[in-house]
Amino acid sequence: MAVPTVAAPSTGFAPTALGGVGRVVEHHWRWYRRNWRATAVSSILQPLLFLLAFGVGFGALVGSGPNAAAATGGVPYLVWLAPALLAMSAAQSAAFESTYPILSGFKWQRIYVAMASGPLTGAQIGLGVLSWTGLKMLGSGIVYVLVIAVFGGVAGPGIVVSLAAAVLTGLAVASLITAFAATVENEGNAFSALFRFVVIPMTLFSGTFFPVDRLPEWVRPVVWVSPLWHGTEIARGAALGTWTLVPTLGHLAVLLVLLAVGGVLVARLFTRRLAA
């Protein structure tokens, strides 16, 4: 019989708070390196289709009559639309990334469960997932800007600020929906209701395709709670150079508050769900 032995101390240690978030991002980056082709195709195709349909097709209908000029401030419809589309696309992909993939991480593939059985905490996992969503939106946003440029929809360097505003908008939306998804137990109707009653109305009535002052008076308070409207105001103001300081700071503050609230909820709800 061999001498009884006891294993040497483990080589593992718990990463720092930020390091743990980074490891979760790294996991998703690994996945992306394997699967980027499919993502790349859709991130080029989506802006292409939207710009063709609304910027070029619908834009020709809008024309450049006095009515249109009053709404767009005199710039071509495509130029007026493009920065808002950028924000809308970020908000939309944020909604997709934060629903079924999150449920899968808890329930189907259970990769969050695997992460939590190591030294990572629920908060690190949730915030890591959110950070990755932000990075991915930044990547597809850059592609979006390039496609806009090809169509001649870029008015000037302000579009870079529009991109930042779009990513911030997407992050605010993603944080809130990710937090919600962490409470969803099965596919049921939760996500389809979310898309039908929240995401699609938000997409249509946040001033992307027409100015919100064209809406009836009583609808406007609904617009004010839409993160996409706040993001669109910054993105468009920056791209066209029409922004003014105080309203812009107001929009920025709303988005930052939403993101902070969403981030805290994500950290708490991931922790709760992973420790039953």
Partner: protein, 322 residues
């Protein structure tokens, strides 16, 4: 593969007599349901410790508390000398966990699953690359390293999950129903791997509802039922304490089935199951002769050694796997 040193070797820091896991009055409730109702457990370094019991006995709840993913409702618990409530991440960094349900990333390759998991434990990239190579060898998955997990069989996924749990060279390995759903060949291969780990000094805690698994793997085990510990000891101790050496199993034609009382004078104890009688006796062959000599005509009879299944039946009045 796992660096091991003899107990008491120079530079060895751990006090070997200290329990790696110690629980006193440990409880877990889910709302009104009490899953674990006050258990005491000590797991010594280097041993393979088992929780044996039917589904719903509280094994997995206990395991999740030891794994520091489920907060305890009451009692005290220390794992590697730390409190799971306060030091969860630090404890989890030094243990390995094989969950009941595989939670590999199906869209990553076999090798990537090992490497990325190692990164959670703060290990440098180079270290996890080398460790992954070593673990692929250990799990006999070297040829499948580049395949995605989706393409693997159930047994291979299980081996990969075990390999993954070793990426941080854990001091304590927790295995929750490690072979449920595997075919016999895959189970034996897994048992072999776990036995190698034991020889390397890795302390293991296993839950199972298979008595043969518990007998194969465990140095010491507790039988759990209804959230409490019904008995504790080595498999051999439990069998000699709660059962006889041999068991005679008799099946009768339902039309001509005798009552249990009629068989009782031929054995130390008789258990009546829906489809058969179990006669507990020191010498099965002899009891079989006595029964037939007394005029009983069983359809079939079988003499076997007592197992943990019999211990469980004695302790709880129920069979382990229904």
């Amino acid at each position: 593969m796992i660096a091991a040193r003899p107990v008491g070797a120079p530079g060895y820091g751990l006090v070997v007599s200290d329990a790696l896991v110690q629980a006193r009055g440990l409880r877990k409730s889910f709302g009104a349901v009490e899953a674990v109702r006050g258990i005491d457990v000590d797991v010594a370094p280097g041993e393979v410790f088992g929780f044996l019991g039917p589904n719903g006995a509280g094994k997995s709840s206990t395991m999740r508390m030891i794994a520091c993913v489920s907060p305890r409702t009451g009692g005290t618990l220390s794992v590697l000398g730390m409190d799971p409530g306060a030091d969860g991440p630090r404890i989890r960094a030094r243990i390995g966990v094989v969950p009941q349900l595989d939670n590999l990333d199906a869209e990553l390759s076999v090798r990537e699953n090992l490497e990325i998991y190692g990164r959670y434990f703060g290990l440098p990239r180079r270290h996890v690359r080398e460790k992954a190579t070593e673990l692929l060898e250990f799990a006999q998955l070297t040829e499948r390293a580049g395949d995605t997990v989706e393409e693997l069989s159930g047994g291979m996924k299980r081996r990969l999950t075990i390999a993954r749990s070793l990426v941080n060279d854990p001091e304590l390995l927790l295995l929750d129903e490690p072979t449920t759903g595997l075919d016999p060949q895959a189970r034996h291969l897994l048992w072999d791997r776990l036995y190698r780990l034991k020889r390397e000094g890795v302390t293991q805690i296993v839950t199972t509802h298979y008595m043969d698994e518990a007998e194969q793997l465990c140095d010491r085990l507790v039988v759990m039922d209804g959230g409490v510990i019904a008995a504790e000891g080595s498999p051999a101790e439990l069998i000699s304490r709660y059962s006889t050496r041999e068991v005679l199993e008799l099946r009768f034609d339902p039309e001509r089935r005798p009552g249990a009382a009629a068989l009782e004078r031929h054995a130390d104890r008789v258990e009546e199951l829906p489809d058969r009688f179990l006669l507990y006796t020191a010498d099965g062959e002899r009891t079989q002769g006595d029964v037939v000599g007394a005029g009983f005509v069983p359809l079939s009879s079988l003499v076997r050694r007592s197992s943990l299944e019999d211990v469980f039946l004695r302790l709880t009045g129920r069979t382990l796997v229904d």
